[in-house]
């Protein structure tokens, strides 16, 4: 479970980037965060795992023993401990390009093993086998020994998910995991993330309302650093307009003019 209370972040010039963000995500929920560009989605997500310290507010995260930690008040060491079990899939690719796919997955456990062992010995055979299983889940095991830099965008994103799975996380965060993927790859990724939310809370930032409607259990919309919608993933046209402005409504009309594959199938 993750509880976010009253996050605010203000620039020195007085501009409020985040203005009192509140929400709670329980396990079993797959929450999609929507909102226009620059709304503060990435900032919120960065607060959730302590990459960014908010000016005010708290983020309570449960670790694997059910203990609650306030990420905003943690010392560096505590923060590392909590992060061990927070899986993060970033906006864009963030893998180590010159390591093999398998090594990139195993990196997910760095926080959980002793530093000396990781530097001198590296990972164990058992960890390698587990990492391979994680890769099999995302159908990437056949490329395990390849250099990560040679993968395509969709493949890299799948490796990132395998890394998060390998972490055995108690919380999964994803920032635009499907933004630079083609529609079919995007579906593959969503289908991979969805079942993870059965045991842990999953929070993802998306730009595709049709995707969140289909795969998420709940949608939160952020605009100008505030939560403007929190509830059913199927948004009405009115809500969409509220979130993205009137431009969207016009775009919708345009989209209806050309039949999309979905519509044809119906």
């Amino acid at each position: 479970m993750i509880e976010v209370k009253g996050l605010t972040k203000t620039l020195p010039n007085g501009r409020k980037l985040l203005n009192g963000i509140d929400f709670t995500v329980k396990k079993g929920e797959f929450v999609g965060i929507l909102g226009p560009s620059g709304a503060g989605k990435t900032l919120t997500l960065r607060c959730l795992n302590g990459l960014l310290k908010p000016d005010e507010g708290s983020v309570l995260v449960e670790d694997e023993h059910g203990e609650k930690h306030d990420i905003c008040q943690s010392s560096k060491k505590q923060l590392r401990h909590v992060r061990e079990r927070i899986g993060v899939i970033f906006q864009g690719y963030h893998l180590v390009k010159r390591l093999s796919v398998l090594e990139n997955v195993m990196i997910g456990r760095l926080g959980q093993i002793s530093t000396i062992r990781s530097l001198v010995y590296g990972f164990t055979d058992k960890e390698a086998e587990e990492a391979l299983l994680a890769l099999e889940k995302v159908k990437m095991a056949h490329l395990a020994q390849n250099r990560t830099g040679s993968l395509s965008g969709g493949e890299m994103q799948r490796v990132a998910i395998a890394r998060a799975i390998f972490q055995s996380p108690t919380l999964l965060l994803a920032d635009e995991p499907i933004s630079n993927l083609d529609p079919s790859n995007a579906k593959v990724i969503m289908k991979l993330i969805r079942p993870l939310s059965e045991n842990i809370p999953v929070v993802g930032v998306f730009h595709q309302p049709e995707m969140t409607a289909k795969y998420c259990t709940r949608v939160i919309a952020i605009k100008d650093g505030q939560v403007v919608y929190d509830g059913d993933p199927k948004l009405s046209n009115k809500t969409l307009e509220d979130i993205y402005g009137e431009e969207l409504a016009q775009m919708e009309q345009y989209e209806h003019a050309i039949p999309t594959p979905e519509i044809v199938r119906i």
């Binding site: 992060r83 963030h94 893998l95 390591l99 990196i107």
Partner: protein, 265 residues
């Protein structure tokens, strides 16, 4: 016609002042160095005839040269190895995306200092402190290596994708782990290519440093010259040329191999 003439003069006018300046500086420098064309002629004529005089090499001395040559190569190799290892440490400390700003500034300052003291000066000081031997040679080559590779590698590390480093932070990895698993793999190709490049330089330097007192083939060369044993010196020169040529080839081959390995499979 006249119009065209003024046009072409105008085109060259902006070069007139720099050209005058260049000629003046060249003249001045020539006066300071005592360079004249007469002297140049004697220099070339005498230099070539002297080379002729050094010929033929003293092949009997060839076997005396092998061990000093091997020593020089070993000195250059050790200087490169220690220097490369230490420059990685310095580079990590000097990279703004890894280190605190004061650590970074100190490391950058030290690297800059090492860069600006020529190896020969370091060698002279070390010899003054510790006496002759291979140690001053190896240490000065090591320091020279840090001055050069430290800066180049630090710049490479600073270009590493910050999102990648953040992503490793976000799964609980500490600094050392980030450096080992995130930074090192990314700089290895550059590291190898710079180290090979530096090895070529160190081979040349080890000859010069040897002449001052670091031992090896450079000492042999200088000694033969000062003992007026020019045929022997010629032999030493040939050995050095083979050394330089050999390392150049070797480094070229290794670099090519490594590049191919890094590319598409």
């Amino acid at each position: 016609m006249t119009g065209q003439a003024t046009y072409s003069f105008k085109r060259y006018r902006k070069f007139v002042l720099p050209l005058i300046l260049l000629i003046a500086v060249t003249e001045g420098a020539a006066i300071v160095c005592g360079a004249t064309f007469d002297k140049l002629e004697t220099g070339i004529v005498k230099g070539l005839s002297f080379l002729q005089f050094m010929f033929p090499p003293d092949w009997a001395a060839f076997k005396d040269m092998l061990e000093p040559a091997f020593q020089s190569i070993t000195i250059a190799a050790l200087g490169t190895i220690f220097g490369t290892i230490l420059s990685v440490v310095f580079a990590v400390l000097a990279a703004s995306n890894i280190s605190h700003s004061w650590v970074r500034n100190t490391a950058r300052f030290l690297i800059g200092l090492e860069r600006s003291v020529p190896e020969i000066v370091i060698l002279l000081l070390l010899i003054a402190a510790f006496g002759l031997g291979s140690m001053p040679g190896i240490v000065s080559l090591t320091l020279g290596c840090i001055g050069m590779l430290g800066k180049l590698l630090a710049d490479i590390i600073e270009e590493i994708d910050p999102v990648m480093i953040e992503s490793m932070e976000s799964l609980g990895a500490n600094k050392l782990q980030i450096i080992w698993f995130g930074v090192m793999p990314q700089i290895i190709p550059n590291l190898v290519s710079y180290a090979l490049f530096r090895f070529e330089i160190n081979i040349r330097l080890s000859v010069i440093l040897g002449a001052i007192g670091a031992g090896g083939i450079g000492y042999e060369l200088d000694y033969s010259f000062s003992m007026l044993q020019y045929h022997r010196a010629f032999t030493a020169m040939i050995v050095v040329m083979v050394m330089i040529f050999g390392t150049e080839r070797l480094s070229y081959m290794l670099r090519k191999k490594f590049k191919v390995e890094g590319a598409l499979q």
